[in-house]
């Protein structure tokens, strides 16, 4: 076990995210109590379409990631396993199906637990937009069956050929139009296109602010780390388009700029700069942030934080809302070929002065692990950057081992060190 003497210097603004998430879930419950129809959604934030229809949206991964980070996910997983879901099932989905069982009253919570935190308002519609992951399909079907509500599945195309993007976007726009018709049917009101355009203005502002702040981490030492940006995902996922999100990201950017001006880093004595490929074990986010800091390693960027949520802000045009959303759901790194992923990753490594790659072996997520070894090999061949895998899972800490992470991380840093010495010779 590594003795941790140094801790991660977390962004202060990151703590505001937790407060906003808690307030948002309370607000969804309030709106549901007032009679509004609630949407449950997984995956990419195409659900802003429902927000424009004045429907409160509960983002499944947002909720369970937040609860997992606080180590409160276990009742959900117990409820799912009592239902018959095996632990090999995606732990995001598994946890949320557990939440659904609790909401339905099929699984009784221990009275000592915080019922208010764990009980969700029932949905009137389920939206699956799992992007590069086929898991969303049976997940969405399961939810719709449990609540006997309609489900809409968004299906962006896998970009087998890079030229497939145009077709995928056109098809996705058709799906959005069909989905809007469904929203009109459920709400009984004509769709509010003006509200959607207003939302897209806010989305663009938020996403650009976040991207600019993340880009500032090209600075050495990096003013923030991947773990800050992981906490911050909620701002462009569950919280996107909600009041206060843009202002929060402005505060974050200001804080990052201030750190640069003052020469403050996310890691006190930054010696190694790393890139994180894959999802992280939410229940260990604090442990991991401190562990890397203790070893003078700063994870400066990552695929889950930097490449998944609104990857094409340049193509957000509020006057063309459907195309804007479509590009941001279809031009996704997980949908691209291996060659494309290597190219994007290589660019990141150069721009962020990356010394090593950490691949998160997310045990129940096959989408993010699809090309892990080839990426490690490809990057080593192209840029000579060493890589290591570390075990874990998004929401199931049973797959995480502290000792294994310590050993592998030490090995990676020693490899980086050895390479530096060779270069000096």
């Amino acid at each position: 076990m590594v003795t941790q003497v140094k801790k991660a210097n977390k962004l202060n603004s990151a703590s505001l995210i937790g407060q906003m998430m808690t307030a948002s879930f309370a607000d969804i419950k309030r709106q549901a109590a007032e009679g509004k129809k609630v949407v449950w959604a997984n995956g990419l934030p195409v659900y802003v379409l429902a927000r424009a229809a004045d429907m409160p949206v509960l983002h499944c991964e947002g909720l369970v990631a937040g609860l997992s980070a606080k180590r409160l996910e276990k009742p959900f997983q117990d409820a799912a396993e009592a239902f018959g879901l095996l632990p090999d099932t995606c732990s995001y989905a598994r946890s949320f199906i557990g939440a659904a069982r609790i909401t339905r009253g099929d699984y009784r919570l221990d009275p000592s637990m915080n019922q208010d935190l764990l009980l969700m308002p029932r949905p009137s519609l389920y939206v699956n937009s799992a992007g590069g992951c086929g898991t969303g399909r049976p997940w969405g079907e399961a939810m719709a069956t449990l609540f006997n509500v309609p489900v809409y599945h968004f299906e962006p195309r896998f970009l087998w050929h890079e030229s497939d993007l145009k077709d995928s976007v056109a098809d996705f726009v058709r799906q959005e139009q069909e989905f809007i018709s469904l929203l009109e049917k459920i709400t009984g009101k004509p769709y509010d296109w003006n509200r959607l355009k207003e939302l897209l203005v806010e989305v663009k502002r938020a996403v650009i602010l976040r991207n600019e702040a993340m880009k500032l981490c090209q600075h050495i030492p990096s003013p923030a780390s991947f773990f800050d940006w992981a906490t911050n995902i909620a701002a462009v996922a569950h919280l996107i388009g909600l009041p206060g999100t843009g202002d929060l990201l402005q505060k974050t950017k200001d804080e990052v700029e201030q750190r640069i001006a003052e020469g403050v880093g996310a890691v006190a004595n930054e010696k190694y700069r790393l890139y994180w490929d894959g999802i992280l074990t939410w229940g260990k986010i604090g442990v991991l942030a401190n562990k890397f800091a203790a070893m003078d390693a700063c994870v400066v960027a990552g695929a889950y934080t930097h490449l998944v949520w609104w990857p094409r802000p340049d193509l957000i045009d509020p006057e063309k809302p459907l195309e804007s959303i479509a590009y941001n759901c279809c031009d996704l790194v997980l949908l691209h070929s291996y060659e494309h992923r290597i190219k994007v990753l290589s660019d990141f490594c150069r721009e962020y002065s990356v010394d090593g790659l950490v691949v998160s072996e997310t045990q129940t997520c096959r989408a993010f692990n699809s090309h892990a070894f080839m990426i490690m090999d490809g990057l080593a061949r192209k840029l000579g950057i060493p890589a290591v895998t570390i075990g874990g899972d998004s929401c199931d800490i049973r797959f995480y081992s502290d000792a294994q992470v310590d050993t592998r991380l030490q090995a990676l840093l020693e490899t980086i060190e050895a390479r530096r010495k060779v270069r000096q010779i």
Partner: protein
């Protein structure tokens, strides 16, 4: 006499499925024809057949996974790991083409890894919509099948016209109808054929020229249809699950060995493969699209189907007068994992006892499975 004729035909089927890729390599050398592998479940083989090339459905082999682990994690399902492994070892290099259809993220991953590692093979990815009720889905499916058709034409060096595609549909419908006849015959007289032999027949249909398979099937049926039903002791079972890959013969033998009589199934290497024909009127591409969208059996890889899988299973169990169901779940098969709780509840609600057996590429602890199956059979008596 009949039995010896049946054994001789069965030997021919077995010869095809034993070390299938080596046999296909030999077939290619002898016949000087191109071979195109396609991923299991949803791709219409007729399209490849109409191009004059031999379509084969990719099969899992028993090979221990070694080199493949340099490309894929151990928590991907058995057939995905196995195909990646034998692919990177060069055992699929005899193929001229490889077509994967989008059924799940693991399948998609295998396609991508094999494309990267087998540059000499033409690897295609067919994005047949999984959401079967979405607006415009028929047009999308036809467009995608047309795109794959053009790609196959390039590989085959010849056009696929409507006439040849229709003829291929006729060939495949004939084979499917014979398999259904055999299925029904066996349902009424399970002693005719051990279930593992039925699997061999279906698997060989996926690996050999359909016309030859059909000829053998006709001979087999001619022998079997004359045989009198034999009474059997045991419990009638419905076998469900196992998408994409054939169950290990050891497990099928165990089920039958402890007194189970498998009378019906919905396995991919079973009824699912031959249940439904494509129509012969109108455009053949549209007929294949229609088969994909409107006529296939409930599957956890699809959405918007008129009946959920668990309800379908309950109906089939009742129709087959099975006393119980055995659910074979491939470890790490995520679509099936999501449906299992619903299947479990639906069977329980219908008063149908069931047992779930999780299977893995590397067979582990057959004894453990035997004990559980024995207990299950005692429960049914």
């Amino acid at each position: 006499m009949q039995r010896s004729k049946i054994s001789a035909i069965m030997e021919k089927f077995r010869a095809v499925v034993d070390k299938p890729y080596e046999k296909l390599k030999q077939w290619k050398e002898t016949n000087k024809k191109k071979i195109v592998g396609c991923s299991p479940m949803h791709f219409p083989e007729e399209l490849i057949h109409a191009s004059g090339m031999l379509p084969v459905v990719l099969q899992e082999t028993d090979e221990t996974i070694t080199t493949g682990f340099s490309c894929i994690y151990p928590f991907f399902c058995g057939i995905t790991r196995n195909l990646v492994d034998i692919g990177v070892k060069g055992q699929l290099s005899f193929l001229d083409g490889l077509i994967y259809a989008d059924i799940c993220v693991q399948n998609r991953t295998a396609a991508s890894i094999l494309r990267q590692n087998l540059p000499a093979i033409h690897v295609e990815f067919a994005q047949l919509p999984s959401s079967v009720t979405r607006k415009g889905v028929m047009e999308n499916t036809v467009r995608e099948l047309d795109r794959i058709k053009a790609s196959l034409e390039k590989l085959a060096g010849r056009k696929i016209d409507d006439k040849s595609l229709k003829q291929s549909i006729v060939v495949y419908n004939k084979n499917r109808s014979l398999l259904r006849r055999l299925h029904d015959l066996r349902k009424g007289n399970p002693k005719l054929l051990p279930y593992r032999d039925m699997q061999v027949i279906v698997q060989s249909s996926m690996l050999m020229p359909k016309e030859e398979h059909t000829q053998l099937l006709e001979k087999l049926l001619a022998e079997m249809e004359g045989m009198k039903p034999t009474s059997v002791k045991g419990s009638r079972l419905f076998l469900s699950g196992h998408l994409c890959q054939i169950p290990k013969a050891d497990i099928l033998d165990l089920i039958e060995g402890v007194g189970g009589i498998i009378v019906d199934d919905d396995l991919y290497t079973g009824y699912r493969y031959y249940a439904i024909d494509a129509e012969l009127n109108g455009s053949p591409i549209e007929a294949l699209a229609k088969r994909h969208l409107e006529k296939s059996l409930p599957a956890p890889t699809r959405t918007g189907l008129p009946i959920r899988w668990e309800k379908y299973i309950v109906d089939r169990v009742k129709a087959s007068k099975a006393q119980g169901a055995v659910v074979l779940l491939v470890k790490f098969c995520e679509p099936h994992l999501f449906y299992y709780p619903f299947i479990k509840d639906a069977l329980a609600e219908a008063g149908i006892p069931h047992i779930m057996v999780e299977t893995e590429h590397e067979v582990v602890s057959l004894e453990g499975i035997r004990t559980r199956l024995q207990a299950f059979m005692e429960m049914l008596r």
